[in-house]
């Protein structure tokens, strides 16, 4: 199977979907020259009408995506998570609410591609992992892929979905390689991964580790290391947070009786909090130990590498949490 770099998987998905459907177009800041790599070659292939560099006006172009979608287009917007704050009115008051508020009169097939750059000294204003805040807002579908194949397959699904989707693209994964099946090798001839289906990346019997986005590789490394100690960890990647495949998580906890959740978001009201709450409510009688959350500390992201490395979930923190559930 061919190996693809994570950021190129985004590019492949965009290329394929723009070729397939003329109503798909993309806009954002500095995308013509593909400043972050995901939009490489799109301008040359699809032209200026469908690849638009915007002014630094997130409120205007986040909202313009909603308006364009309302009249039949399928916009993709490229941004960084940290720039979403300046467009919150359009994301919340329009994108998330419009369909319900207008009684289902309109479909809004918009994809916001929000990259999370963290872990590399970007400091407090450029390191946001903000998906939990959007999980709290009804009306948005939230995707957080952890490997190139999922990235491509979920991006293609997102673009074809008829609702507002926010793709949280984990920047710590951008350079990662992974196997991405060629289209001719998958059923139906295209890599499309449905929303709401978790991926069990590693089977295990002692502890369930649910890991999100950039925490997934750390959880897999921890599981591998713990195997040497005779601890069998099942690693589950939910892939989409809204909708969330709680059945797969609950079934795993029923088998293992123990749950660790690794989440790069801040720990208070995180995705991990929500998953913990679901398991506490619906899987309580399966639990043999308290649930362990391994999420980012409740501080802003400090600049100095000496401090920043303390904030996020790591292989060591996840392994420690797994051992705690077994004490």
């Amino acid at each position: 199977m061919p190996e693809t770099v994570f950021v190129n998987a985004i590019n492949e998905a965009l290329q394929e979907e723009m070729k397939r459907d003329e109503s798909v177009f993309i806009m954002g800041e500095d995308i013509k020259r593909s400043i972050y790599g995901a939009t490489m070659g799109l301008l040359e292939e699809f032209g200026e009408k469908r690849v638009l560099d915007t002014p630094l006006s997130e409120n205007a172009f986040f909202g313009a995506a909603v308006g364009a979608a309302a009249v039949g287009m399928r916009p993709v917007v490229e941004t960084l998570t940290s720039f979403m704050w300046v467009a919150m009115d359009q994301l919340v008051s329009q994108a998330a609410k419009m369909r319900y508020m207008f009684g289902g009169q309109v479909n809004l097939p918009v994809v916001y591609r929000a990259t999370m750059y963290y872990g590399g000294g970007s400091a407090a204003h450029h390191s946001d992992r903000s998906y939990p805040m959007f999980m709290n807002m009804p009306g948005l579908k939230i995707v957080a892929p952890s490997n190139p194949a999922d990235m491509k397959g979920l991006m293609k699904t997102a673009i074809r979905d008829n609702d507002v989707v926010i793709m949280f693209e984990d920047g710590t994964l951008f350079g990662n390689r992974g196997e991405v099946p060629a289209n001719e090798d998958v059923p139906g001839g295209e890599l499309l991964i449905p929303f709401g289906q978790a991926n069990t990346l590693r089977e295990g019997s002692d502890v369930t580790a649910v890991a999100i986005a950039g925490s997934v590789p750390h959880a897999l490394s921890a599981a591998e290391e713990l195997e040497a100690d005779g601890i069998s960890v099942e690693v589950i990647d939910p892939r989409t947070l809204v909708p969330l495949d709680k059945a797969t998580i609950l079934a795993s906890v029923e088998k293992t009786g123990r749950l660790v959740i690794a989440d790069p978001a801040h720990k208070v009201c995180s995705a991990a909090s929500e998953i913990a709450s679901i398991v506490a409510e619906e899987g309580f009688w399966s639990l043999q130990a308290p649930i362990a959350k391994v999420a980012s500390e409740q501080v802003h992201i400090p600049y100095s590498p000496a401090l920043e490395k303390l904030v996020y979930p790591t292989k060591e923190k996840i392994a420690d949490a797994v051992k705690r559930t077994l004490e």
């Binding site: 177009f25 009408k49 469908r50 638009l52 915007t54 002014p55 006006s57 409120n59 205007a60 172009f61 986040f62 909202g63 313009a64 995506a65 909603v66 308006g67 364009a68 979608a69 309302a70 009249v71 039949g72 287009m73 916009p75 009115d89 359009q90 008051s93 329009q94 419009m98 369909r99 319900y100 508020m101 207008f102 009684g103 289902g104 009169q105 309109v106 479909n107 809004l108 097939p109 009804p138 009306g139 579908k141 979905d161 008829n162 609702d163 929303f195 709401g196 809204v242 909708p243 969330l244 709680k246 929500e274 679901i278």
Partner: protein, 329 residues
């Protein structure tokens, strides 16, 4: 600009539709038939009507919290608008939107927004779609003097101008953001002066004159359809009522003198238009009265329709969240 009689009478008719609709709304709100906020458009009818009759059904509008006038001016159905205010299933939004969120996509109404300035980017996006598709439709957005201070307003105007999008920004300057005069909040003398910063035409129009509004917006539409980009039209107008129904704490005359309200009432948009029709021999007073009475009847019927429409069922609560449905968490 020669305007035929049918169109002039349509302007009168739609202004009466709005006037009767709003008077009915005030009446039934006082009787407690519905709650929440409702922002009467009385006094400002010429702005929306003059603009909307210059458009096609395939053109799009978006509006704001003062939200009943725009859809009715664009040809929306008063029955469904009234049913929405009463929270009934036959309302435009099946009772999920209410007064501030009327929308009818079938006649190009992208919806009203309760957050001020918030609909400018959305309307800008509809215009962007027209340009990308290479189609002929344009969009227009109504916003107030208050919203003209929002970042979204300035971002949208700049974006529309650099991309030469087919959109008309229509400022209905009713002079007060709730109780605050635009003279205390807008840095230029007229909102339309702001157009020069975005390299687009900006015109100040008598917003009580429906024909003047029609003509100014028509020029903008022509420019938009020719691919020459956006325009800003400011209709200077006045709201007769308080900001919103249910704002009992604001007393009349508190922030604007009674004489000012009275002066503007003397420049009533319906009276001005009717007088012109009769004096210029375009229509008789009887014809004008007939339009008034027909629209009064239409709104009576709309109210009856709304009252007879059922409330949504509990089972409707989760409908319409998503087009591609997902389970409730």
């Amino acid at each position: 600009m020669a305007i035929d009689k049918d169109l002039l009478m349509l302007m009168l008719r739609r202004m009466w539709t709005i006037r009767h609709f709003e008077e009915t709304v005030i009446d039934i709100y006082a009787k407690g038939e519905f709650g929440g906020a409702a922002h009467p458009y009385i006094g400002e009818e010429a702005v929306a009507v003059g603009a909307c009759v210059a458009m096609q059904d395939t053109d799009y509008i978006a509006g704001n919290h003062r939200s009943h006038g725009h859809p009715l001016a664009k040809g929306g159905d008063p029955k469904r608008a009234m049913a929405e205010l009463l929270g009934r299933v036959d309302g435009y939004c099946k009772g999920k939107g209410g007064s501030m969120h009327l929308a009818d996509f079938s006649v190009g109404i992208l919806g009203e927004s309760g957050i001020l300035g918030s609909s400018l980017p959305v309307a800008t996006g509809a215009a962007l779609a027209s340009k990308i598709k290479g189609e002929d439709f344009i969009s227009a957005v109504f916003f107030g003097d208050g919203a003209s201070n929002q970042g979204a307003c300035h971002e949208s105007m700049n974006l529309a101008s650099v991309w030469k999008l087919p959109i008309i920004f229509i400022c209905e300057n009713n002079q007060y953001a709730v109780t605050t005069s635009y003279r205390d909040t807008v840095a230029v003398e007229h909102v339309s002066d702001r157009a020069s910063a975005y390299n687009m035409p900006g015109v100040l129009v008598d917003g009580q004159d429906v024909v003047a509004m029609y003509e100014a917006v028509s020029v903008g539409i022509e420019r938009a359809r020719a691919g020459e980009g956006p325009s800003l039209v400011e209709g200077l107008t006045y709201r007769y009522e308080e900001h919103s129904l249910g704002l009992g704490r604001i007393r009349r005359g508190e922030y604007r003198p009674e004489e000012e309200i009275e002066t503007w009432r003397q420049r009533d948009p319906i009276v001005i238009h009717e007088k012109r029709l009769v004096e210029q021999g375009i229509a008789t007073q009887e014809e004008c009265d007939a339009v008034r009475d027909e629209e009064a009847k239409e709104i009576e019927e709309a109210l009856e329709f709304a009252r007879n429409s059922p409330f949504p069922e509990p089972g409707d609560l989760f409908d319409d969240m998503f087009a591609d449905a997902i389970p409730q968490p």
